[in-house]
């Protein structure tokens, strides 16, 4: 029997096949047992790896042209429109207004991230301990609000915060304030609306991390005499740091580029950088400045994304819930 001796090598392998596949085989075969050639005469020498590797080109080309392409185009344009050089960046740095908007964006993103963390942590903690139908209800509320249109939720906050809106009705009817308060446009409305929209992106990574924490460590702590608060502070909290940092990076990054909520609720005094870019491009037709601001935003986002990827590797994939 010629077939019996070595199961790893395909008996139907001809010299032609060897020359076609041989190079790759030799280079990659040793560590991976996956590389087995077909024993079938109808399809000589196909392997799973070789087959699926070909699938890479189409999506990569698509992402290359329509995702990497635009990014490069924006970056190049920021240096050449209207005149070649660093003119746009000089204006960003020295005219005052642009820098102020960037600072305002960073500040708002920081506040939103901090508030989200403060609110999301206890919620995730309760959800991590919940079971059965309670967990199902809690999870579905978080997921439904995650997937409800951002435009619609900002509209809802507009209705709540407007002069004759829900909140002002509540405040005046209970006698807390004398007259209606002008929340719109304002910083409070922007922060509340953004926290509301970003909260699920903080809850889900923290929750996924908390669920992976080994509870026997907490039992060990209590056996050794720690009271529940001490064992939370000394054991659980440090173990949940990967979730905290993954969620915070995600929320901060998404807040930086946020458009709808600040545009609707913020007004001209609370401009964020995405709103400014849209104004420069769509209304002022100042594409060079829009591109320069976008490049600055891109740079900050890329740095944060790399940081986030590093953190997620420890947290165990909080990104799987991201939008």
């Amino acid at each position: 029997m010629t077939n019996g001796c070595c199961p790893d090598r395909a008996p139907s392998l001809t010299r032609g096949d060897l020359s076609r596949h041989g190079l790759r085989t030799r280079r990659r075969a040793a560590p991976q047992s996956k590389y087995i050639l077909s024993t079938n005469e109808l399809h000589p020498g196909w392997s799973i790896e070789n087959f699926y590797r070909k699938f890479l080109w189409l999506p990569t080309a698509f992402i290359g042209v329509f995702f990497v392409g635009p990014i490069i185009a924006v970056t190049i344009r920021s240096f050449f429109d209207p005149a070649p050089g660093f003119g746009n960046y000089a204006e960003v740095l020295f005219s005052g207004i642009y820098l102020q908007v960037i600072w305002n964006t960073l500040g708002t993103a920081l506040i939103v991230t901090f508030l989200c963390l403060l609110i999301a942590y206890p919620l995730a903690y309760v959800m991590a301990k919940a079971k059965g139908s309670m967990l199902a209800v809690m999870t579905s509320i978080v997921v439904v609000s995650l997937w409800t249109s951002v435009v619609i939720r900002s509209y809802a906050w507009m209705v709540i915060f407007q002069r004759r809106g829900v909140l002002n009705n509540l405040l005046t009817s209970t006698g807390l304030t004398d007259g209606a308060i002008n929340f719109l446009p304002g910083a409070i409305a922007v922060n509340v609306g953004m926290v509301h929209i970003m909260l699920p992106f903080m809850v889900l990574p923290i929750l996924s991390n908390m669920r992976s924490i080994d509870t026997s460590l907490l039992t060990a702590a209590s056996v050794m005499g720690a009271n529940p608060w001490l064992s939370f502070y000394k054991v659980f909290l440090p173990l949940s740091f990967p979730g905290i940092s993954a969620g915070s990076a995600l929320v901060f990054m998404m807040s930086l580029g946020f458009f709808v909520t600040p545009a609707l609720l913020g007004g001209p005094r609370h401009l964020m950088v995405a709103v400014l870019i849209e104004q420069q491009a769509n209304r002022m037709l100042n594409w060079g400045m829009a591109s320069a601001l976008a490049t600055v935003l891109l740079l900050i986002t890329v740095v944060l994304y790399l940081l986030y990827l590093r953190v997620v590797r420890y947290a165990g994939g909080g990104a799987q819930y991201g939008r």
């Binding site: 996956k34 999506p59 309760v126 978080v142 809802a156 004759r164 580029g257 995405a274 769509n282 990827l309």
Partner: protein
């Protein structure tokens, strides 16, 4: 002393636990309330937005249904969302198969590239795609915005298919291969049925994200191809009528329906898995 601590400590902790659960439900209430403020508003009998409404009527749904603008926008949203979902499913699945089964080098780099569109602020993509679509003569066409939404949709499919693939070791494909199946046969008969729920869930999410997307639609669609979010956006900047609330409630309903479909798919694929192992 010991007996003392044993009696008062647990009560204190139990009370704080109860408080924590109460706090969690309050946070969930905060999360869900705004969505449910719009629904009663859409049934208001008055033209201005007061809450709770003074009277009830369904006339805003009537004005939504009778307005050619809203009808056109709803059809546009579907005409853009469905091809987006299909394209995202094809390209995202291909990328996922290549990355997790193709044995490619720089695997994590390619994976990061495929997920990156999800993280990039849409405004950057929008002002970058505008001149490119202008150059391809696709500006204000359906194709232009479908391509843009697919860029954002691919990561969603890529992630869900990746997680479906990670549940299977690939030994079934190996078995099919050694039993004499060709590459396409083993894909359609073995791999595809295993990852079908993942592909579908990713497709639904891609549709939902296209259905909600504003920024790219704002730059890439025209008057004839504008989507529901864009029309809501334009109307919101001009006047706040309950017609917007009616449209928003309908969109919210569609989102809920899609999420129910996703959760049914998830439980079904989970049950199949349990059956296969049990």
């Amino acid at each position: 002393m010991d007996a003392d601590t044993a009696t008062w400590l647990p009560i204190r902790y139990r009370a704080s636990n109860k408080l924590l659960v109460l706090l969690a439900w309050l946070i969930l209430l905060f999360l869900i309330t705004p969505q449910f403020v719009i629904v009663p508003l859409s049934f208001s009998s008055e033209a201005y937005l007061s809450f709770p409404p003074a009277g009830w009527s369904t006339k805003w749904y009537g004005s939504f249904a009778n307005s050619p603008d809203w009808g056109r926008a709803a059809i546009n949203s579907l005409a853009i969302g469905l091809p987006t979902a299909l394209l995202s499913m094809i390209l995202g699945t291909m990328a996922s198969l290549a990355v997790s089964r193709g044995g490619i080098t720089r695997q994590s780099l390619v994976a990061a590239l495929m997920v990156a569109p999800m993280m990039l602020p849409h405004i950057i993509l929008a002002i970058g795609l505008y001149p490119i679509m202008l150059w391809f003569k696709l500006l204000t066409s359906y194709a232009g915005v479908i391509i843009a939404h697919t860029v954002v949709g691919i990561p969603l499919v890529f992630i869900t298919v990746n997680s479906a693939l990670s549940r299977h070791s690939g030994s079934l494909e190996l078995a099919a291969m050694t039993l004499g199946a060709g590459p396409w046969q083993s894909f359609w008969k073995v791999t595809f049925p295993l990852i079908r729920p993942g592909i579908l869930i990713g497709g639904i999410l891609a549709f939902a994200s296209s259905f909600d997307e504003l920024m790219l639609a704002l730059f890439l669609t025209g008057v004839g191809t504008q989507t529901l979010p864009r029309l809501i956006w334009l109307q919101m900047n001009d006047y706040l009528t309950p017609t917007i609330a009616a449209a928003a409630s309908l969109i919210f309903l569609v989102t809920l329906g899609l999420l129910v479909a996703v959760s049914i798919l998830q439980t079904r694929s989970g049950a199949e898995k349990a059956n296969a192992h049990g």
